[in-house]
């Protein structure tokens, strides 16, 4: 009698340096992100629920290094903030036009408040009653 066997491939995630492998308890119920990795995780869960014996899986801890970008000496912002504040600005052009001290003064405060796109600037600066 032949029996079909399913092969579960180890999920290949980048293994960062100096990080030990650990067990990660996957929790069903997390919203599907549509990624390949998540589809593989869902497949594992569906097999487990069907009673198929599961080997213990270990994966390297996903290491999400926070992206830090140095805009000028001493001025460091995260990737998302960088995109919002400086993404549409030709910083290289201004870096060439300004002294290092002036460039630093220029980039330090521009866009430092998130705010909102539909503000009326004239209204917001009005002295309240």
């Amino acid at each position: 009698m032949s029996t079909d066997t399913a092969t579960i491939e180890r999920i290949q995630l980048p293994k960062p340096r100096d990080v030990e492998e650990i067990s990660v308890p996957f929790q069903p119920g997390i919203e599907d992100t549509g990624s390949l990795a998540w589809r593989q995780i869902k497949d594992i869960f569906s097999l487990r629920e069907s009673g198929f014996p599961q080997p213990v899986q270990t994966v390297a801890e996903p290491l999400e290094l926070p992206v830090q970008i140095v805009v000028a000496p001493g001025i460091v912002v995260g990737g998302e903030e960088y995109q919002q504040r400086y993404g549409g600005i030709d910083l290289e052009q201004y870096r060439q036009q300004m002294s290092p001290e002036l460039f630093k003064a220029f980039v330090r405060y521009i866009g430092c408040i998130p705010g909102m796109p539909d503000l009326d600037l004239s209204d917001i600066v009005t002295t309240p009653e």
């Binding site: 220029f106 521009i110 430092c112 408040i113 705010g115 796109p117 600037l121």
Partner: protein
């Protein structure tokens, strides 16, 4: 006076008086005028243009950032009614506890520019010029139907600057009915 919509190709004749809305627009990164304000600011800084600031502008910037902080704390849109001096006094402590950096941003930005070599002056410069501002302000209020604050801005610009840069469309009245003087009013549009 001349009223002109600003484009990056326009030469800016200093000294330049900056309206509060330009300074605030430079620090609010999601605002539709943010790229324009930043481009303009960069042009002024790179050209080491003489920049004029008034206590009126700083006062308005402080109110603006305090209101933004209040809205952030209370999850309200700035258009929501209810922001007044009483509200400010009630929320003052929490505003500074959470968003002091927002309140001080414009002032610190101006100091940074100055320390980096940008010629920045606070106006009015002299008693004589201040008297001129005092005389012009009610005239602008009457002739152009400007609010007192807007009329003071225009009078300060007229007496001290060659260019007045603003994002306030209330000065649009000057496009068709320019008042006397050599001042160029540059209007920022997205």
């Amino acid at each position: 006076m001349q009223y002109v919509d600003w484009t990056p190709q326009l030469a800016i004749d200093p000294p330049v008086y900056l309206d509060a809305n330009v300074l605030v627009g430079t620090i609010i990164r999601t605002h539709r005028l943010y790229p324009t304000c930043v481009r303009l600011t960069a042009t002024l800084l790179a050209g080491k243009s003489s920049v004029l600031i008034s206590p009126v502008s700083l006062d308005e910037c402080l109110w603006a950032t305090a209101k933004l902080a209040y809205c952030q704390l209370t999850h309200q849109h700035p258009y929501t009614k209810g922001w007044n001096k009483k509200t400010y006094l009630k929320w003052c402590e929490k505003i500074f506890a959470s968003y002091e950096g927002w309140i001080t941003a414009v002032g610190s930005m101006i100091k940074d520019w100055s320390n980096a070599g940008v010629p920045i002056e606070v106006i009015p410069k002299t008693d004589a010029l201040w008297e001129h501002v005092v005389d012009l302000t009610p005239k602008y209020m009457q002739q152009l139907k400007l609010t007192p604050a807007d009329a003071i801005h225009l009078a300060l610009a007229q007496t001290h600057a060659r260019t007045f840069i603003t994002a306030d469309s209330d000065f649009e009245v000057l496009r068709k009915n320019p008042a006397a003087g050599e001042l160029v009013i540059l209007h920022l549009v997205a």
